[in-house]
Every structure is written in structure tokens, then in C-alpha cells.
């Protein structure tokens, strides 16, 4: 072992690395927000067996959970590209992450919904609430609290998986790292710094999620 570390070039390019980290965070946050909305809708559709949407939900979940994320990013970028639909690397990665997040979250949410006693639904209905109000004010707040942990795990997964953006030339943290190291060949240094940044991002996300949960969830379940 006589590798000599040279950190100077990495530190010079730190602003670009941090910008890459920001894009990573950005794309994963967005993929979670969109994924949550879609997954709530699909979970409700699936539980209440509303055809034909429940078929869509089932197919979605099956494909998302049983094929590699790499494949989905390829499909979004090169696959759609071949069909003449050209997505930017950012949009391609975002769509793939949304697709997978939604697939996993549908099942998580369904479990969460089912853990809430039907009597909560009946009690709300008996107070004159319409179905939307029952979900909005009674069921969803309890459901989100129950699945909060698996949901933050999914978030961390999205951050790590967005590194596949490297394959389609996206300027997220891994893509930037790849580009910068190829200019200077300080490969190891760049990837060590990138790994540290990933670690910091996920810790930051878990920490904020913990804080938010204290603010959001006051009562006991």
C-alpha cells in the first residue's frame, strides 16, 4: 500500500460536490412527496377494490417491487428515448424513483390503513363526515404515524438509489463525483468524500424526520 492521498483537488471542487449533494437531496425529496400522494391514492383504490384502477395499482406494485431500480432508470431514460420521448436525466431519475417509491409505499400504506380499526371509520361517519373528511382528518393522520418509520426508511433508500443517476449522466452527487474524478484521477479521494456526504445527507434526513415526528404526533396510539 503506497497510495498517496491528495485532497487538494477535491477541496477545490467542494462547491460542485455540495451542489451535487443538493441535487441528490432535491430529487429524493421530490420523489418521496409525489410517491406519497400517488401511493395514498393507489392504496385506497386497491383496498376498496375500485376497478379498473385497482388493476393499475396491482400491476404497478408488482413491477416496482420485483424489478431492479437500475432497470427502471434505464427504461425511463433509454427506453422512452427509443420511443422518441426524451427525458432529461433529472426527470428520468425522478420518474424512476417515484415509480419505485410509490410501489413500495402502496403496500406500506395498505398495511397502515388496515391496522386502523373499522370502528374509527364508522364513528367518523356517524358524526356526519363524508368519506374525504374521514380520510383527511381521522384515518390519514393515524396511518402516517403508524408507518412513519418504514416511510423514512424509504426516504433513505431513495437518497441512496438516486446515485444510479450516474448511469444517465445526471448531475447528482454520484454523477458529479464521477465527472470530477475523471478530470483529476483522484478517484479514491472523490469517492470517500462522496460517501461521507451521502452519510451526512441520510443522517440529516433521519434527524429532521425525528424532529418532525415529535411535532406532528402528539397523542398516543
Amino acid at each position: 500500500m503506497n497510495y498517496e492521498f491528495h485532497w487538494n483537488t477535491v477541496f477545490q471542487h467542494m462547491p460542485e460536490m455540495l451542489m451535487g449533494a443538493f441535487v441528490t437531496l432535491h430529487v429524493s425529496v421530490l420523489s418521496m412527496l409525489i410517491g406519497i400522494v400517488l401511493a395514498v391514492l393507489l392504496a385506497i383504490v386497491k383496498m376498496n377494490n375500485i376497478k379498473p384502477f385497482s388493476y393499475l395499482a396491482t400491476t404497478w406494485v408488482e413491477i416496482a417491487r420485483n424489478t431492479p431500480a437500475l432497470f427502471q432508470i434505464y427504461m425511463a431514460y433509454f427506453g422512452l428515448g427509443a420511443l422518441g420521448i426524451h427525458l432529461s436525466p433529472y426527470i428520468a431519475v425522478l420518474s424512476a424513483l417515484v415509480f419505485v417509491n410509490t410501489g413500495y409505499l402502496v403496500e406500506t400504506f395498505r398495511g397502515g390503513f388496515q391496522s386502523i380499526p373499522a370502528t374509527q371509520y364508522h364513528a367518523s361517519k356517524s358524526l356526519g363526515m363524508n368519506s374525504f373528511q374521514v380520510y383527511r382528518y381521522v384515518i390519514l393522520p393515524q396511518m402516517f404515524r403508524r408507518i412513519y418509520h418504514p416511510m423514512t426508511n424509504q426516504f433513505v433508500w431513495s437518497i441512496l438509489m438516486s446515485s444510479l443517476g450516474i448511469l444517465v449522466g445526471m448531475n447528482e452527487l454520484s454523477g458529479e463525483t464521477q465527472r470530477l474524478q475523471s478530470l483529476s484521477f483522484r478517484t479514491l479521494e472523490y469517492f470517500i468524500v462522496a460517501a461521507c456526504l451521502y452519510y451526512l445527507i441520510t443522517k440529516l434526513v433521519l434527524f429532521s424526520a425525528g424532529l418532525a415526528s415529535k411535532k406532528l404526533f402528539k397523542g398516543e396510539i
Binding site: 370502528t119 358524526l127 381521522v138 393515524q142 404515524r145
Partner: protein
């Protein structure tokens, strides 16, 4: 008034209500007694349209409950209901539990909703629990909260489905006292109950359900003190022993 006319209800092949007819006038209290599985809960669920019926009619103040053109969400504002299982919303404080429906269903301002909720909570003896979360309370307190939450919608009728059966015996009294208080207030009520002494004290009428039919119905004196049918006598001697 609530008028139930020859109502039939099945779950799949199982016919649970086999032609039920009864009337409850404004200001009256009807108690429904009967064995497990006789269809008592199902009838209450049909009255506030949580369950559908196969035939017959349920009329609440001239509204045909199961007519497809009836706005059932609106209808349920007339009918408060409290269930056997404690149903407080665990993510809301006691006060928020009672204020939620007035706020979002009736569209009252936050202050109006809170003041109505406070009034009803004080009425059922929970005036010192506003900021508590319901899961920290006893079953008896949670049931009184459920009553206050329903009353905050200012319903014309209250439906109670064995609201004391899941309680420890020492907590039953406080909940029954709350019901007695509502009776004093003149609330129209249908109480499904296993508390025969309570039914005898507070009811104008008692109906004995057996396997989806009303075996016997009349004043507490008729049905509880002088039952005419063998099945009624058997049931009463079982629950009273």
C-alpha cells in the same frame, strides 16, 4: 320520529333482520335487549345508514334513510351514535375530539366549535380533561367523551350500542348515569343494552330481539316484569342471574 317498517337485512345468505317494525317518538327512550347475534347492532347500523337494507323502510323525520337520493352524510348529523368499542380519535385531544365534527362538518368557526365542545364535555363530567389525549383515560371516560362528541353535533336522536359492555364493572355506573342525564334532558334515544335494570328504569319501551325478529315489545313493566313469551323469560332469567 324514527319509524322502522318491516326491515329485512342479510349478510350474504345469512338473514339477520327478518321484518323488523317499530316506532320511536320524539322524547322517547327505547331499549333493545336480546341475545348475541340477534341483530341489535345491525339494526342501529341500518338506522344511520352505515349498513344497507334489503327491503322495508326506515324513516327519520320524513327522510327515507335508504332512498338513493337521500344525502346520508347530512342525515347522520341528526343521529348521534356511540359504539361498544371505544372510538375516541387517538391523535386528537379530548377537546379536539369533540370539536372536530362541528368544525368540519357543520362549518362552524373554530371558536364556536370549541365552545360547543367545551360545553358538552363539561356536561358529561370531563371539564377537567380538555387537553388530555383520550388513550390516557379510562374506558368510562372515553365512552363519556364519545357521548359528548356525538352531542356536540346537536343530534335529534342518539343511538347507543351496548356502550357499557366493554367496561370494567366499576366504570359502568358513571356511563349509565350520563345516559340517565340525557333522558332528563329529553333526548330521544335507542339503547341496545344488557343492563336490564337500567332498561327498566329509563325506557318508555323495551324490545326483545331474538334471531332477527322482535319477540316482544312494550313497556318495561310488560316486557321485563311480566314477559309473555317463554324465550323472553329464558333470556331474562339468564341475564339477571
Amino acid at each position: 320520529m324514527i319509524s322502522i317498517q318491516n326491515v329485512r337485512k342479510s349478510f350474504g345468505d345469512l338473514e339477520v333482520l327478518k321484518g323488523i317494525s317499530l316506532d320511536v317518538n320524539k322524547g322517547e327512550v327505547l331499549s333493545i335487549i336480546g341475545g348475541s347475534g340477534s341483530g341489535k347492532s345491525t339494526l342501529l347500523y341500518c338506522i344511520n345508514a352505515i349498513e344497507t337494507i334489503q327491503s322495508g323502510k326506515i324513516i327519520v323525520d320524513d327522510i327515507d334513510v335508504h332512498n338513493p337520493s337521500t344525502n346520508q352524510d347530512k342525515l347522520r348529523q341528526k343521529l348521534g351514535m356511540v359504539f361498544q368499542q371505544w372510538n375516541s380519535f387517538p391523535h386528537l385531544t379530548v377537546l379536539e375530539n369533540a370539536a372536530l365534527a362541528p368544525r368540519i362538518v357543520k362549518g362552524l368557526s373554530k371558536d364556536e366549535a370549541l365552545s360547543i365542545a367545551e360545553k358538552e364535555l363539561i356536561h358529561v363530567g370531563l371539564g377537567d380533561k380538555f387537553d388530555m389525549y383520550p388513550t390516557k383515560m379510562s374506558g368510562g371516560q372515553q365512552q363519556r367523551l364519545a357521548i359528548a362528541r356525538a352531542l356536540a353535533m346537536k343530534p335529534d336522536y342518539m343511538l347507543f350500542d351496548e356502550i357499557t359492555s366493554a367496561l370494567d364493572p366499576e366504570l359502568v355506573g358513571e356511563v349509565l348515569d350520563t345516559l340517565r342525564m340525557l333522558r332528563e334532558d329529553g333526548m330521544t334515544m335507542i339503547c341496545v343494552t344488557h343492563e336490564i335494570a337500567f332498561a327498566r328504569d329509563v325506557s318508555d319501551n323495551v324490545a326483545f330481539f331474538n334471531q332477527g325478529v322482535i319477540e316482544e315489545m312494550g313497556t318495561p313493566d310488560q316486557v321485563i316484569n311480566n314477559p309473555q313469551k317463554e324465550t323472553t323469560r329464558k333470556f331474562l332469567s339468564k341475564v339477571l342471574s
